[in-house]
Symmetry: C2
Subunit: 237 residues, 2 copies
């Protein structure tokens, strides 16, 4: 049996914001914690949604696979974020795969417990609504990007989003805090790993990024913003 979770971990999780201490205890009491090594599927597309999940530590990639095997990265989950809960509120089937891209610690609540908690604490339903609403907006924005922007801008947007979500200051600039392959970026932007590689190479030549095997450091975030916004690149080192 995994260690019983500490109520403190729920702090800062938007889904449980505004709950009383005893309500939080109720929530924590229903949770299971688990260690998941890198490269493992937490759940898979098409499975019945047995549980809702929250990430305590690590990073999880949410990938949707189409009928012909084409994959799209829907999002990366960081500590404090929920995932796999949508299915519980809709048709009960996970709509995507969740794969750990680093060693992870996660909490999970059985689907029944999740819905029961929501009935007992209506604030959870309202929080969930705000969260899902926010994600809907995010995806709508990406839909617009993919529909109207060229590849280079989309890649810039994707990296900037990742920086916002998982950026860590290092002396060379800002580093994206988890292993990220060209293929991943391609699947985030509706492109190919070849094009992503070429684009990053070009940016590297201009000193905008530094990148290696599954790792990206942004040296000049402002330059990336200029590309994302399609502004003239008016800057020297």
């Amino acid at each position: 049996m995994p260690p019983p979770p500490d109520p403190a971990v729920l702090h800062g999780m938007p889904l449980f914001a505004g709950l009383e201490a005893d309500a939080l205890g109720d929530v924590v009491g229903q949770a299971r914690s688990r260690l998941v090594p890198r490269g493992t599927a937490v759940f898979s597309q098409g499975e019945p949604a047995a549980a809702g999940h929250a990430l305590i530590d690590g990073r999880v990639k949410i990938v949707q696979t189409g009928p012909d095997g084409q994959q799209v990265v829907l999002r990366f989950i960081g500590p404090g974020e929920m995932f796999g809960t949508l299915a519980i509120f809709t048709d009960g089937v996970y709509p995507a795969d969740a794969v750990t891209v680093a060693d992870c610690v996660e909490l999970s609540w059985p689907a029944a417990a999740m819905t029961a908690l929501m009935e007992r604490h209506p604030a959870i339903a309202r929080n969930a609504l705000a969260i899902v609403g926010g994600r809907l907006r995010e995806v709508q924005n990406r839909l617009r990007e993919v529909s109207t922007e060229r590849v280079e801008r989309r890649i810039a947007h994707a990296l900037l989003r990742l920086v916002r979500q998982a950026g860590r200051r290092v002396d060379a600039g800002v580093e994206i805090n988890f292993p990220l392959s060209r293929q991943d970026v391609a699947e985030m932007t509706g492109s190919t790993l070849h094009t992503v590689s070429r684009t990053l190479s070009a940016w590297e030549a201009q000193g905008i990024v530094e990148s290696g095997r599954q790792q990206v450091v942004i040296r000049k975030p402002h330059a990336l913003v200029a590309i994302a916004e399609d502004l003239p690149a008016a800057d020297r080192p």
Copy 2:
């Protein structure tokens, strides 16, 4: 002052499913009804979200505009559907334009009334969660399509979605029940009106569709499905 709405109109609106009769009365009591002629903006992107809306009759196009003016059609709203409610649950600003593409009758609830109703009747929050969750899925699927499929398949998918949503049997086949331009289809698929026109022309030559000014009739839905699924077109009239 518009006519006081009849409680019957709420029947079949998923947002208010499972509510008691008196709760429904409460809901209806807060609503305003309004006639909106074709081509009018119900609300505009960037405005503070003053109200949530439900369509009783007609058709509304939800369009998002990017920083450079590029437009994307997020969805078409038909009778019985809600729209413009997302903003109330998130940041209070409409994320898109809503424009009538036919003469419409709509109900609306002031934002404050909407949230109050939700607090009074928790079932509404749960319904809303399921609805928003369903839309999130839909948009995620479209994101995958736009990211991985070629234009022809995307157009096929878009038309099929419209048929499901607003298809009407006519002797020639199935008609999409509201005025729909090539430009609209282009903005639904991340393409251009030129490409859409060419594609429809080609399909017309094959007897798959019949289309004219802002109007499309699908004569062979199965053929369209074959294109959407990328199957070999194995059929004769």
